[in-house]
Symmetry: C2
Subunit: 228 residues, 2 copies
């Protein structure tokens, strides 16, 4: 009968730091090697025994839950402290290219590849954020309105995040210190095509769009009832 972590007051400082050190090491290790990394590896990173990791977190799933929560909290603070300036993918680019978020970014990317609940929460977070920001841009006359704003925000977010993770999966940096540089290179590569596509479009004729709009009865937009 091991003591459960029901109260943290009995071990005011050292236990918390040990927990935090193990959690941070787990985040880094998971970000580096994926969630298949063993508890022994994580324990070895902090220089403790594998049993201590289980002693603090109970199981590997709960360790990952703790990592997820901490990463999500870090993302929230990162978002609150990053004032969205001009540009569509401002928070994503800020978050992905900031050096101090490289570990968390790697963890998020692993989570996206794995498809856990953190991935869903993160993506939904980004979609909601994009919808709000795109709505503001439309209201300000900076962006073309869409017949289904929600679908567009979802599409833009999925495309941006998906391209990011696919690009990293195809050519993974060997360690996390190169991740920020990788992301900077990635954004540098996609900036021109993105801006071109966003301002000049891709097709020269409206035929395909009009055909589609004619083909479907009405687009499934709930906030754009009548159009065209």
């Amino acid at each position: 009968m091991v003591c459960m972590r029901s109260d943290k007051r009995s071990v005011p400082l050292s236990d918390l730091t040990a927990r935090a050190r193990i959690r941070d090491a787990a985040i880094e290790r998971f970000a580096r090697d994926g969630f298949g990394a063993g508890l022994r590896t994580v324990a070895g990173d902090v220089g403790v025994s594998p049993a201590l990791v289980l002693h603090h977190f109970g199981s590997k799933d709960r360790l990952r839950q703790a990592c997820d929560e901490h990463v999500l909290a870090q993302i929230r603070t990162a978002k609150s402290e990053s004032i969205v300036d001009a540009g569509t993918r401002s928070f994503l680019e800020h978050f992905a290219t900031a050096e101090r978020y490289s570990t968390i970014l790697g963890y998020v990317l692993r989570s996206l590849l794995d498809g856990g609940p953190l991935a869903r929460a993160f993506v939904q977070h980004m979609i909601d954020d994009a919808e709000q920001y795109v709505g503001a841009a439309v209201s300000a006359g900076l962006a073309v309105p869409s017949r289904d704003e929600r679908a567009r925000s979802r599409y833009l977010t999925l495309s941006a995040l998906g391209a990011m993770m696919l690009s990293i999966t195809l050519d993974p940096p060997e360690d996390l210190s190169n991740l920020t540089g990788f992301m900077r290179r990635f954004f540098a590569e996609i900036t021109l095509p993105t801006l071109e596509l966003y301002t000049e479009g891709f097709l020269t004729t409206r035929r395909m769009l009009d055909d589609y709009l004619l083909y479907v009865g009405d687009p499934p937009g709930e906030n754009a009832a009548q159009h065209s």
Copy 2:
């Protein structure tokens, strides 16, 4: 000293079909459960012993190599038999929504998530294909020319594939028979935003693009030397 598979003439039919049956079962199992699936599971699917799998393929890595080669060959025939009609992502949509390719598509998606050599080959294949097709569209006056056609093709391909795999990762279908339906739903969801973005663009002003073009000396396009 087991006999190596140096010659296949000694066992003209039954060995080949056994190999093929194991390989196909492995492709299906890998597509369903990912590459972490065990050899015992694959062997159980065909009703043979795990040792036979190793007997035929030598190791799990070589089994996966065989799967990769077969899938790539299937993709090549799928591509050759699918006449690219109108539309940008024609082959991708045809391949992803065709019922008979659902297993291969699932394998490819797993491979993209895993980042193996097949993933790189497949993506490069798609990028080259997109570049050729986009080039034809530009020549025909159907598409707006880009300052860096290669970068644009790469960006469009990474975005489309990435959105696809991210969407599937976030909400995975329980079995492969639902995968085709999932892909159809996915394409139905992204068609409107894609067509809108491709024909109407997203931004209303050229400011961001012009600022970027002014900021960088010249875009790294090798086939579009002088511009603007």
